[in-house]
């Protein structure tokens, strides 16, 4: 069998899970909340202005015309009214500029963030580096960031290829990842949850399918997760997973992917050491299940056309075993 049946692919696509809450109007982090307040203020002021202008426009075109148009008194009055309107515009503009400036100051990256995470954009996935802290050594993961709730997190944003933009609207505004530069972004979640985001700068064929999940959890849960992630991959026990590991190492898979604790140490694709523990695969494309893993491995170009993972020819049994192995990498 060359590929999984199209039915399975369509089922996988239709049943995929995590939407999170990807909305600037549903803020759950301090920066996003500050910005939402500013958005509300500006939108209300602008709506009032628009309604006033429309009111004047309506009156201007529909009013009864019983006075002569060109008499000098009305010209003078027009001058006064127009001047007043321009002065009002200047005052409102100045006020909005100052409000904007103070909000900007409130969402800058603080010097003393509790945690610093490096996010490196690639076509079309997110490579994530956690530095070592205390007893936990540093580690690498992909497409899913875990952060402790209620703490300032400093994201260092870099890119290995083209420009991407990190945007998880429920937590913060966006910031570009520019090759040759390192940008910073303050990320902070006020309550636990999964927050979805996606690349916001056009980055090529699969710009549409470059999502990222931010999992905010209590500090203790976060520490447990980080400790688990920093370790090597679990050694598979189930027979199909054991067989899958052998196939993984023998096929081209290991040339591009790393599974820490094994001979697989490729660096082109995402680190798969704990892929089974991530909520989604292929940068938020589908929920991680054995079925979706099988569909992805069998034919990555149908699910995400143009992405950099080639189709590796596998028999049906090989596909099942590799999927079982991937799923076991919790």
């Amino acid at each position: 069998m060359r590929a999984v049946p199209p039915l399975l692919i369509s089922t996988v696509v239709a049943a995929s899970g995590c939407s999170g809450n990807q909305s600037a109007l549903d803020p759950n982090g301090a920066p996003a909340i500050h910005i939402e307040h500013l958005i509300i203020v500006i939108v209300i002021i602008c709506t009032v202005i628009w309604l006033l202008v429309m009111g004047v426009l309506g009156l201007a075109i529909l009013r009864r015309r019983d006075r002569p148009a060109e008499d000098p008194i009305s010209e003078k009055r027009l001058t006064t009214v127009v001047s007043a309107a321009v002065a009002t515009t200047v005052i409102i503009i100045a006020g909005l500029t100052i409000a904007s400036f103070y909000t900007t100051r409130g969402i800058g990256v603080p010097e003393d963030a509790a945690l610093t995470i490096t996010v490196r954009g690639q076509q079309w996935w997110w490579q994530i580096f956690y530095a070592s802290s205390g007893a936990t050594p540093g580690f690498q993961t992909a497409n899913e960031i875990h952060i402790p709730v209620g703490q300032d997190v400093h994201l260092k944003l870099e890119s290995t290829d083209v420009i991407h933009s990190f945007w998880v609207p429920s937590l913060a505004g966006k910031q570009d990842l520019v090759p040759g530069r390192s940008n910073g972004l303050l990320l902070r979640a006020e309550k636990p949850g999964v927050y979805r985001g996606q690349c916001a700068e056009f980055c090529g064929l699969q710009h549409s399918h470059m999502a990222i999940m931010v999992v905010a959890e209590p500090a203790a849960d976060y520490e447990r997760w980080a400790a688990a992630q920093s370790g090597n991959a679990v050694i598979p026990a189930a027979p199909d997973a054991v067989a899958g590991q052998a196939i993984f190492m023998a096929k081209p898979c290991a040339a591009c992917h790393t599974v820490r604790g094994t001979s697989a140490s490729g660096t082109t694709g995402p680190d798969l050491t704990h892929i089974g523990s991530r909520q989604t695969i292929a940068a938020g494309l589908v929920e991680t299940t054995r079925g979706s893993l099988a569909a992805w491995i069998a034919d990555p170009q149908t699910l995400k056309p143009g992405n950099n993972m080639p189709m590796v020819p596998l028999t049906s049994a090989e596909l099942q075993n590799i999927s079982a192995y991937m799923e076991s990498l919790k």
Binding site: V13, A14, S16, S19, Q22, S23, A24, L25, I35, I39, I42, I49, W50, V53, M54, V56, L57, A60, I61, R63, A69, E70, S74, L78, T79, V82, A85, V86, T89, I93, L96, S100, F101, T103, Q123, L157, D161, V162, I163, S165, K174, Q175, G180, R181, N183, G184, C199, A200, E201, F202, C203, G204, L205, Q206, H207, S208, H209, G284, L285, P305
Partner: protein
Amino acid sequence: MTPKDNREIRDTAFDAAELERRLAATWTTPPGLLGALSTVDHKIIGRRYITTAFVFLALGGLLSLLMRLQLAQPEARFIGPDRYNQIFTTHGTNMMFLFAVPVMQAMAIYLVPLMVGTRNIAFPRLNAFSYWMYLAGGLLLWIAFVLDTGPDVGWFAYVPLAGPQYAAGKRADIWAQMITFTEVSALAVAVEIVVTVFKQRAPGMSLDRIPLFVWSMLVTSFLVILAMPAIMIASTSLILDRLVGTHFFNPAEGGDALLWQHLFWFFGHPEVYIIFLPAVGMVSTIVATFTRRPVFGYLGMVMALIATGVLAFGLWVHHMFVAGLPRLGESFFTASSMAIAVPAGLQIFCWLATMWAGKPIFKTPLLFVIGFIVIFVIGGLTGVMVASVPFDTQVHDTYFVVAHFHYVLVGGAVFPLLGAIYYWFPKLTGRMLNETTGRWVFGLIFTGFNLTFFPMHILGLRGMPRRIYTYQPEMPWSGLNMFISLSAIVLAAGFLLFFIDAIRSARAGATASANPWGATTLEWATPSPPPSYNFAKLPLVDSLEPIHDDAFLPAAIGLRVDRRELLITSVVEAAPEARESSSGDSIWPLWAALATTVALIWSIFSPWAVVWGSIPVAIALIGWFWPKDVPEDDS
């Protein structure tokens, strides 16, 4: 006076009928294919330019319908990512470079010489050349698109995505070289307009008697001259990076990816005003005619045009608020971006005051102006929103911005343009557009536009990024996207009706008189459509409204009628200074454009094209400028 002058044939020597016959013999383009290809008549070239631009509008509109088809449902498979990226890139590039800028310049090519009362545009052969270059650039883009090699890196072509490493093939080069074509043609027209306005105004048309549309085109032309070099440097550097291996934009070799963005937006933001300012001039013209009074605050309007033009160069960084520039510097650009709302607001207030004080006549052009105010004020206010750095970090590169700039560009430029077409159609063709159909066109486009683009604000705030070819079913966007796609059909129906009306009326519309609207600018004091020489006798301008009872005061100039001659006047007072000959028809601008086209397209493939390709260009230019043995005189 030399004795030779006695043998010259001056316009003062004949009665009206004989003068018109002799002028027509001197100025009229000969019939036939060679005449059509050689003409330098600004009216023929202007009409050609306008028609071509509207063809590109229709083609770009078809692309937008394809995008709406794909986005109506999540994970739709009508169009794959590769084709979709070509579609949105070509849509944006086409609408900005092949429709919006050229159509505004085209209106100016037709109208400015008539409105300032001269017989042809300055540098008429350059004008012919600019049209051929524009046409060639448009064909380059569209033929590439049809052949599935259309640009796919966005109309902004950010590096490194558009650089040699990530954009294989020739798609990005076609984009960059198409820019060169449109730059050349836009710069040529801008120079013609500036010279026409400064040196060819009818006697007496001092600076404070220039019609507002002409003022707006003058400011626009300066913007073109000052902004285009930035994109010229950018696109040339990109071609060098791609073709000969320079590293202007390669960070690994000391280049800088953000340099591209600075250069692109230093052009790209003034570009918005290059499109918007002519529309402002059209609105002022229409408002004055259909409220039966001059626009309130002439001086303020002119100052607002100039202020907008100056401020336009201090805003470009607001396109880069999330690129990681220093926050303090960004705050400066917040202030400058918001400040441009002041001249924009002043103009809106002046139009409202004019309507308040005047007696509005609700013909189709004025309906489009009212629609313009309703929509453009929304676009201006969302512009204030995205000028705020924190606000922008949430909506930048989302559908909110797609909504914003369509409100600004369609509301701010296309609505006035459609109004202008309804207004000047009689002058362009000699026939009227249908008033009843015009109301339907306005109703459909106004309704369809708002239903299509307003919901995009909400989609953007709810997290939908731009330039995605699809989205996943679990995202809460499919309902609004379906609604938008259905609304786009209403919008498209409005444009379809407009095109039908325009084609039908051009052939069989009611015949137009010289001044069907009772307007007061000079173009209405000559027949519809105007004769090849524009005016039998040049007008004498005594006020901002030089037409009285559909005629102007004729000036006794003494221009020769046996060869093409123009009157040159002074910059400030428009006092007569000299007689100047105006170029005759010539096929050489076409040859020069063809030679340049060959050189430019060849240079996508080989740097040697710049060397060898310049030889035919030089030959064509020698033919173009070959002396005719006509003595210049400047009495």
